[in-house]
Symmetry: C2
Subunit: 324 residues, 2 copies
């Protein structure tokens, strides 16, 4: 069994060997830029770890893992256009650095490239991993649309929100693990278990993101906090606060999110005060714990030596309490 850091390094070395310096520059420079900025590389490393868990050859997963990472970065590229997000990982997003057309088209090319990498898998794995990937890609698009819808939709429930982050974030984490396990030849029931482990982990992961966006330490988190509050994003914290707020808290919360004249820092401070008084951070932590337990339940149920699961358990725990 290999550690996360070993597999991360292996992935980074493999990715860096891929030449994407083609013509026209307007397509390929944004692609290289996006892939070079980094990110956690969580999905591809989980794919490698799942293969390792089931005793597969991790070499067989490298290209599909690159495909998954390229796909993930493609979605960020298009999401940033739709969400008007000027910054990604501390750098200008592609549509800001270049323009919207270039972001659309280099994104489209990344999507095709993602498939090209995935199709470098062994022929015997091709159908299975493409079935996983096709369905997941569609779900991720659906999740992003629900996210966009919720910007203007009233009466978004916490269930709606969980369903949305399941599609937008969690399924790709489940699919990454399932892809690695599938290439290792794991049986169908085990594939479902590792997928469910990842999907529940993914929801906990996104809920942690929601908390960090409000309560994170900016130095550790690596970006300005309060962004979700400023953009009225209907996160778990937002929805829970509206569910619980009464009287003055409710009036004040509503004012914060509707008053167009309120300045950003006052808004963030006021909302955090209400979040604190309603204890929504603890409730989100409870929810993270809840989804973590579900994730671990599925991991535990996988029929394989318990100590082999330790690396996955460790990384899952790390993700739950991460500060960045």
């Amino acid at each position: 069994m290999h550690t996360f850091d070993f597999l991360l390094n292996k992935f980074q070395v493999s990715l860096s060997k891929e030449n994407l310096d083609f013509s026209p520059d307007e397509i390929y420079k944004p692609i290289s830029y996006t892939l070079s900025i980094g990110g956690k590389r969580l999905r591809p490393v989980l794919a490698l770890m799942a293969c390792d868990l089931f005793g597969g050859n991790i070499e067989d997963v490298i290209y599909p893992a690159i495909g998954i990472e390229v796909f993930h970065n493609f979605t960020l590229l298009h999401d940033d256009i739709m969400d008007k997000a000027p910054i990604r990982r501390g750098k200008p997003s592609v549509y800001k650095k270049w323009n919207t057309n270039i972001a659309i088209l280099s994104g489209d090319t990344m999507f095709a490239l993602a498939y090209k990498f995935i199709c470098k898998a062994q022929i015997s794995d091709l159908r299975n991993i493409l079935d996983i990937f096709n369905n997941t890609a569609i779900e991720v698009c659906e999740g992003q649309q629900f996210d966009l819808n919720y910007e203007t939709q009233k009466n978004v429930s916490i269930n709606d929100y969980i369903k949305m982050i399941h599609l937008k974030t969690a399924v790709l984490i489940g699919a990454s693990l399932k892809t690695g396990a599938s290439i290792a030849g794991a049986p169908e029931e085990e594939l479902e278990k590792i997928y469910n482990f990842g999907a529940n982990l993914g929801i906990a992961f996104q809920l942690r993101d929601d908390i960090l966006d409000v309560f994170g330490n900016e130095t550790e988190f690596g970006k300005k906090t309060g962004g979700d509050i400023i953009t009225n994003k209907k996160t778990f914290l937002y929805l829970k606060a509206f569910e619980l707020a009464q009287g003055d808290d409710l009036i004040s919360l509503t004012n914060c999110f509707t008053d167009k004249n309120i300045d950003d820092s006052t808004k963030v401070k006021s909302v955090i005060d209400i979040y604190n008084s309603l204890n929504v951070k603890d409730l989100a932590e409870k929810e993270i714990n809840n989804y973590s337990q579900k994730a671990f339940y599925h991991l535990d149920s996988i029929i394989i030596d318990n100590d082999k699961k330790q690396f996955l358990r460790d990384i899952a725990k790390k993700l739950m309490v991460r500060k960045y």
Copy 2:
């Protein structure tokens, strides 16, 4: 051997049976809308014809053909955003009817759906047709970027233009035929021949489009002519005219394409007068004939009963002289 019309009908019936009525509406209504408006269905029918030519089972090509058509429509959806084209096939384009975000995301979903359909091919065909499709999808994106670049780039040569339409339009026509032939089990040399037939046909097809956009009969063509002139599009006619124009013609042509105060109908009329005096339409016809000859050379070289090629020859001839 089946006729174009028989295969077209077969394709339409198969496509109409596909249920794409999923949630969220913001993704799936634009997809159904786009696919229901129609178009020539040239690419999927060519895929079926190529399979038929090589004695394959056309049933095996139906899903990949749907995938190719869905992909083609996805590219139109994103191109219309980038080209700011409000009308497609006589109806509002998706980004106009809904909005840009919806057009980006329903387009992305169509791209994933295209792969999902393609992956319904027999497992023995999967790698070959995905190799064709992945490379073609990337080339189509590259072609669109060159097209965007040429809007502002000076000194675009006719060679540059042909290279661009090769990528943007011709390769997908070649790939459609190659996909059908590959599923029929045609040998590698024959696959290259049918691909080259399609790619040359595709260039002739696009040059015909350039002519129709200027000289077409609006009733037959189904849309207003002169669009390329109004938007200063560097088509074969434009580039050839600038190559040939001298003295007053050159001054007048330059004025037409740089004077921002000239009204559209005067501009179109003046440019057509110069095109006529320089005979560029005949030169474009000559070029169409040239690429048609190349296409037929490759078709002729395919080692198969000559009379079996007749349907493909007929449809190619029709496309060359089409008025819409």
